[in-house]
């Protein structure tokens, strides 16, 4: 058998091909099988916690987790059967029983509806297996970005894994064992005192809304549907793809685009949470210049540009062309950036030009 071609296995009775190294889950997804899962995030190492993705493999004693089992030539795999669906339903009923609530606002985060969707699909809101709720929420954490509502945590550890594997921050970890497991920072502190950079990736991968986007949730009460508009983050030159969430004319939040070629679901604190300027009452809508008393007053572009040109020329005349240094805004489009450097180099005659992403 060659390494890359000609590998096949039987998936629900059909012969399908796969690539060496693929998991059964990946092969099945590629072939349109909707295998349920709660702990899987395709950007992270397969973990095998939730066991919802179990499949039957002929010859195996018990079902195997398809996310952590590599596809092998000749395997005979069944992704759906009475026994598998029964286990999946019991697992979901167990998960429902450990949470304060299952239905959370979609503004909580990108993946926040995963649990509720699966619970509906398996009709698992049965009230069975009631008992103690797991996880202790942290309403004491004063950070303005990340809601830590662990009474809805299902210990899939996607947050811990994304923080380590994707972001490299290792700000959060797993405390205690078993049912007493708790997501924590070092010494149970607040996120602000930890290594957290508030990139929000934990929020966006959380499948239950236990971690929520506090800024987006401010707009929970607006009774309009959420619309998403694909755009590029305006902050720096990386070009992270984002979905801007709006309700009517109001921007309510930002979600990273999981398929963004530059970011693959990642954002930084600015791209994720710093969008309030758009609707801010202090936002500039016309140019301002200072009057004779030093006060800023609204004016026209013509007046403002004349004033700026006069100031720049005065500086060049007095101190020479190298007295000027320009920083282009990372939030400006490429074209504006191009014009800016042209203006600085050809117009002012200096090469002192940079971009705020580096400056």
């Amino acid at each position: 058998m060659s390494d890359q071609t000609g590998l096949t296995l039987t998936l629900d009775g059909a012969s399908v091909s796969f690539t060496k190294g693929e998991s059964i889950f990946q092969v099945a997804e590629r072939h349109g099988k909707e295998i349920p899962t709660l702990c899987y995030d395709d950007r992270l190492d397969a973990f095998g916690a939730c066991r919802l993705c179990i499949v039957e493999v002929e010859g195996a004693r018990a079902p195997v987790a398809s996310c952590t089992t590599k596809a092998e030539p000749g395997m005979r795999v069944t992704t759906r059967s009475g026994a598998l669906e029964m286990h999946r339903r019991v697992l979901l009923e167990l998960v429902v029983s450990e949470n304060r609530e299952v239905d959370v606002d979609e503004l909580s985060g990108y993946a926040s509806q995963e649990l509720t969707t699966l619970v509906d699909r398996y009709d698992a809101r049965t009230g069975r297996f009631e008992g103690r709720i797991s996880g202790t929420s942290r309403p004491d954490d004063p950070n303005p970005f990340i809601l830590r509502d662990y009474a809805n945590c299902i210990s899939c550890y996607r947050c811990v894994r994304v923080c380590a594997e994707q972001e490299g921050d290792y700000a959060i970890s797993i405390m205690n064992r078993g049912f007493d497991t708790q997501i924590t920072t070092e010494f149970e502190g607040h996120l602000k005192e930890s290594a957290c950079t508030f990139c929000g990736q934990c929020v966006q991968t959380c499948p239950t809304g236990a971690l929520g986007d506090i800024k987006a949730l401010r707009h929970k009460a607006i009774e309009k549907p959420v619309e998403k508009t694909r755009s590029i983050c305006p902050y720096c030159g990386v070009g992270c793809a984002v979905d801007i969430m709006t309700k009517g004319d109001q921007i309510v939040g930002i979600q990273p685009a999981m398929d963004g070629p530059a970011n693959e679901g990642a954002l930084c604190v600015k791209g994720q949470f710093a969008f309030d300027f758009v609707h801010h009452p202090d936002r500039l809508k016309t140019p301002f210049v200072r009057n004779d008393h030093g006060q800023l007053v609204p004016t026209t572009w013509e007046v403002a540009l004349d004033k700026a040109a006069a100031g720049l020329l005065a500086a060049v005349n007095e101190h020479g062309r190298h007295s000027l240094y320009a920083v282009a805004s990372g939030r400006a489009p490429n074209e504006a950036g191009y014009v800016m450097q042209k203006f600085v180099r050809a117009g002012l005659g200096t090469s002192y030009i940079d971009n705020c992403s580096r400056a």
């Binding site: 179990i54 998960v95 078993g178 290594a195």
Partner: protein, 562 residues
């Protein structure tokens, strides 16, 4: 002189698998693990602080409060509970209960720092040696216990007097590794920790695996309630274990081995360290084993309180200083073990069997078993039995022969109601199912398993629902928290066996319990989750009336306070 944290860190970094020993040194120096110490460890070992903190909290014996190390810990395992352990906790100020600490043949052990006190009452606690195994009946030949009762067996000279280390000498001077592997294959030796995998095949897989360095790990994290055989072997015949580890190294091509010792055996650490030191000084272990030029370095590492670390992949993560969740398999440790290198993980009893096999031959060992069964198995017998203790039985011995002929039967005037198998993991056997023989096929036919060989006996005075509840509480306490069915399932089963939550209607109660049992058994990620349901399942099977009575009389408060 007390060493500074930085000095301890510098020392630790010279050793493989540095995290646990470093944490223990700090724990012992300060009496707890302070925030300051953990910050320094994080920096010194370049491990993220949040990770380190989370990992420390995984182990229940690492204290994070001043004075915590010396606070008394009373064993409240199944047998000690029968002997009044909970009252002892109440009587000893500042004490807390702990999971079974492996002294069921002589209850109740109480840990005080690095010492084990034993006694039934608060005013009668004393230091006592680990009990020796009772002598076997006439005509029974033993393997691992053959010389354990000899005087001086603990000392190197005493060990060598009856042929100790001859097997190792033979293996490095007049045998090829291949011949050693063939011999172990032929003996039929299988893993005595519970999984029963053929030892020769495991070693061969490590030897044949590409990559290195190769590693041997002796799993001495004897955490299964009702099991105390490895304690006896290590305390009374430490060189027997070390010789087995060295032979495993020679057979697999490893030059280093770790012994991972459970926290609850503090005295054993000193016994083993002394034995390693003596054997190294005599040129038996170290850089030049018996002048052969072969290197075997043995390292002792101590756990910190976590049953799951007896699971071999959790153990490897623990050794590596990682969060001790079990790993996904494949790949298996024989190719991807300690730090990703080929590793043989073997139980203490398995390794203790190796030197006698080399000395007396494969046929001899096979012949110790009855019928088709090869070799012997140590059974830790405890509870309502006349003579509790460790018994090395021929594989295939009828259970009743052990209970009634070897160990004197139940307490006078009482009937044996049920026994556990595999410590707790095999659940209960009762009634006609006590007619099993002590070997896997026989016991598995009764939907249980022999495992590590702990058998706890309960007579008719015992409330089996209560026994099952405390057993499930143990599994819930020890569930690592990685996979959903075990993490939530053990909790829900505990609540139902306590009567604190769950249906009050018998049909619904039994349905819920059966569904949890089935899903846990079929979908859990490791042996803990596969086995824990056997307790609930066998309780319902053997004691239906007691279960009905329990459901009818359970009092529900809010159902949320278990």
């Amino acid at each position: 002189m007390t060493q500074t944290t930085d000095e301890l860190i510098a020392d630790a970094l010279l050793q493989p698998a540095p995290l646990l020993p470093l944490l223990h040194r700090l724990h012992e120096r300060d009496g707890y693990l302070s925030e300051e110490a953990l910050r320094a460890v994080s920096k010194g070992l370049r491990t993220p602080l949040a990770d380190l903190f989370g990992t420390v909290t995984f182990y229940h014996h690492f204290s994070r409060e001043a004075g915590g190390l010396d606070a008394l810990r009373v064993c409240t395992g199944p047998i000690c509970r029968l002997n009044g352990a909970e009252q002892l906790v109440d009587a000893l100020e500042g004490s807390t209960g702990m999971a079974c600490s492996g002294r069921c043949d002589e209850p109740i052990p109480v840990l005080r720092g690095g010492q084990t006190l034993v006694g039934l009452r608060a005013d009668a606690l004393e230091l006592r040696e680990t009990p020796l195994p009772p002598a076997p009946p006439q005509g029974i030949e033993e393997c691992v216990f053959a010389h354990i009762r000899d005087d001086d067996r603990k000392q190197l000279a005493g060990y060598r007097r009856t042929g100790g280390y001859q097997a190792l000498e033979q293996a490095v001077t007049s045998m090829t590794p291949e011949a050693l592997l063939d011999l172990i294959d032929a003996s039929g030796l299988t893993g005595r920790g519970g999984a029963g995998f053929p030892t020769g095949r495991k070693w061969r897989a490590v030897r044949d695996a590409s990559g290195g360095p190769k590693t041997v790990v002796c799993n001495a994290d004897e955490g299964e309630p009702g099991c105390f055989k490895d304690r006896a072997l290590m305390d009374h015949d430490p060189h027997g274990v070390l010789e087995g580890m060295a032979l495993a190294c020679i057979a697999t091509g490893a030059s280093r081995a770790f012994l991972y010792l459970r926290y609850e055996y503090p005295e054993t650490e000193h016994v083993l360290l002394r034995a390693i030191e003596d054997a190294e000084a005599a040129g038996i272990l170290g850089d030049d084993v018996f002048g052969s030029g072969q290197t075997v370095h043995l390292h002792l590492r101590r756990g910190a309180g976590a049953y799951i670390c007896g699971e071999e992949t959790s153990l490897l993560n623990s050794l590596e200083g990682k969060h001790p969740f079990p790993r996904n398999r494949p790949p298996y440790p024989v190719t991807h073990g300690f730090e990703g290198t080929p590793t043989a993980v073997n139980n203490v009893e398995t390794l203790s069997s190796v030197a006698p096999i080399v000395l007396h031959g494969a046929e001899w060992y096979r012949g110790l078993g009855l019928g088709d069964h090869a070799g012997t198995k140590v059974i830790s017998l405890s509870g309502d039995i006349e003579r509790p203790g460790n018994y090395e039985v021929p594989m295939g011995l009828p259970l009743r022969t052990l209970l009634f002929e070897w160990a004197g039967g139940g307490r006078k005037g009482h009937e044996i109601q049920a026994v556990t198998m595999a410590g707790l993991s095999g659940g209960f056997l009762a009634g006609d199912d006590l007619d099993v023989t002590l070997d896997e096929p026989s016991i598995r036919s009764k939907r249980s398993f022999l495992g590590a060989g702990g058998i706890m006996v309960f007579d008719e005075t015992r409330d089996m629902v209560d026994v099952a509840h405390s057993a499930m509480e143990f599994f819930a306490h020890e569930s690592c928290g990685k996979c959903f069915p075990c993490r939530i399932g053990t909790q829900r089963l505990t609540e139902r066996l306590a009567g604190s939550a769950g249906p009050t209607e018998p049909g619904a109660w039994l349905d819920e319990v059966a569904d949890i049992n089935r899903t846990m058994k079929e979908t859990s990620a490791c042996g803990l989750g596969h086995a824990a349901p056997l307790i609930a399942e066998s309780l319902v099977r053997y004691f239906p009336a007691a279960v009905q009575n329990h459901i009818a009389h359970s009092s529900r408060s809010t159902g949320l306070d278990t």
